[in-house]
Symmetry: C2
Subunit: 218 residues, 2 copies
DNA sequence: TATATTTTTTAGTTTTGTCTAAAATTTAAA
DNA sequence: TTTAAATTTTAGACAAAACTAAAAAATATA
């Protein structure tokens, strides 16, 4: 499989999780910052290789084979991210781009040995689940911080937005995976939250809260 | 720089070390298992980018810029090999092909962090030197085992042939980097050697001895 | 339901890196 | 030193993956 084919598969996989329905040509084009015509060309190619179900004008979905391939790419991406953060000490906002390259390295043995070396992690540095060697994914129960109500407490288990900008903001505020976040009050006008992280109190906007995954606790 | 450009640079670099003279189109084509016409095309391209000195029919050599780029690729290749063997526990005969892929990952920060993580190694698992971040190479004094005479002793510090076949043969005989090898006798007819490795005595052909680098000792 | 708008596909180019076949140049041999 | 052989380059073609512009199909609107 070429890099390009792998990138398409991965995109279709992510869109499937996001929208769970048939994926449109335009949705793929937009996410990959390419043209719809390029997407059509590739879909034909992937369809011929039996990686996607594709019917003209009807959108695409992954075949079992395509789904498995996509999961293996995601697995590689996320395991490399863990390596970069845990072993090489990269900040969590810098690993995505490097992992985008590393995910295309071809060697099943390599990725399984890496998995073992990292102690079979189940989540990447942003809290996203890592498919195991068979493609199985253990999803942990989580919800957006914005869904909690006053006086509820959650443990930060993931981020929805993984942009460097957002992650650096979290660093600045001292919010990391594992942080205990208590909702002190909620402003009904703009849905901003007064929260307590460890010992520090401060206010965050709804936009921030809607991009933080927590596991309800206490 | 594209993968292909990087592979050409690397090949020219290796041929330069091997032949130290102007490198011919055919020599490159042969080593890369491609056609001379393809090589010519690429040489023009590399020349335009100021990575090689190239004059029609006169062969090529690396410019300073090309030499530096080539060394950085070799650096990446060899550091990844160390990672695979030291950290992921790969056998030394399996790392080359994976490193051929990993050497193209683009991130200076990544490779420098990897270097640090591995404790700034100076040789790869086959005893080849690893250029540092500035491209400097510390070459250790070494000679072929076949150049030693009766009763001399050497420490194995590298292999000339890095084929899986040869490396597995060495594994089987218990010869590894660091092994102490004593020449008990040399057969003048075929230049085969009776040697002692650790406690074991056995005979090796001249071909084997001519592919083992040692550092004279005792 | 007819028409307008949006989405998707097709057709035809472009770029990168390869190839074959033929021409040009260099090197070796007679 | 002329000819033969080997090497290298040029010219033209091809596949992959992208693009633009135009046509076709689906969807939304009046």
């Amino acid at each position: 499989m070429t890099f390009s084919e792998e990138n398409y598969l991965k995109t279709i996989y992510h869109l499937t999780n996001l929208l769970d329905s048939e994926i449109s040509t335009n949705a793929i084009a937009e996410r990959m910052e390419t043209k719809a015509s390029s997407v059509t060309d590739m879909l034909k190619k992937l369809s011929e290789k039996d990686l996607v179900h594709y019917k003209k004008y009807q959108g695409v979905s992954l075949t079992d084979k395509g789904m498995h391939s996509a999961k293996m790419i995601v697995r590689k991406h996320r395991l490399w991210e863990v390596f970069l953060v845990d072993k090489l000490d990269f900040p969590w906002d810098e690993v995505h781009d490097i992992a985008e390259q590393l995910e295309h390295i071809k060697s099943e043995k390599l990725i399984n040995k890496l998995d073992e070396y990292l102690n079979f992690p189940t989540e990447d540095p942003h809290g996203d689940p890592i498919p195991n060697a068979n493609g199985q994914i253990v999803t942990i129960e989580k919800q957006l911080l914005s869904e909690l109500t006053e006086n509820q407490t959650g443990i930060c288990v993931g981020v929805k937005d993984t942009s460097s900008e957002f992650l650096k903001y979290l660093d600045k505020q001292g919010i990391a995976l594992g942080s205990k976040i208590e909702i002190l009050s909620k402003e009904s006008f703009d849905l901003s939250l007064k929260i307590k992280v460890e010992t520090k109190d401060f206010t965050i906007s709804n936009k921030i809260a809607a991009n933080l995954f927590v596991k309800k606790s206490k």
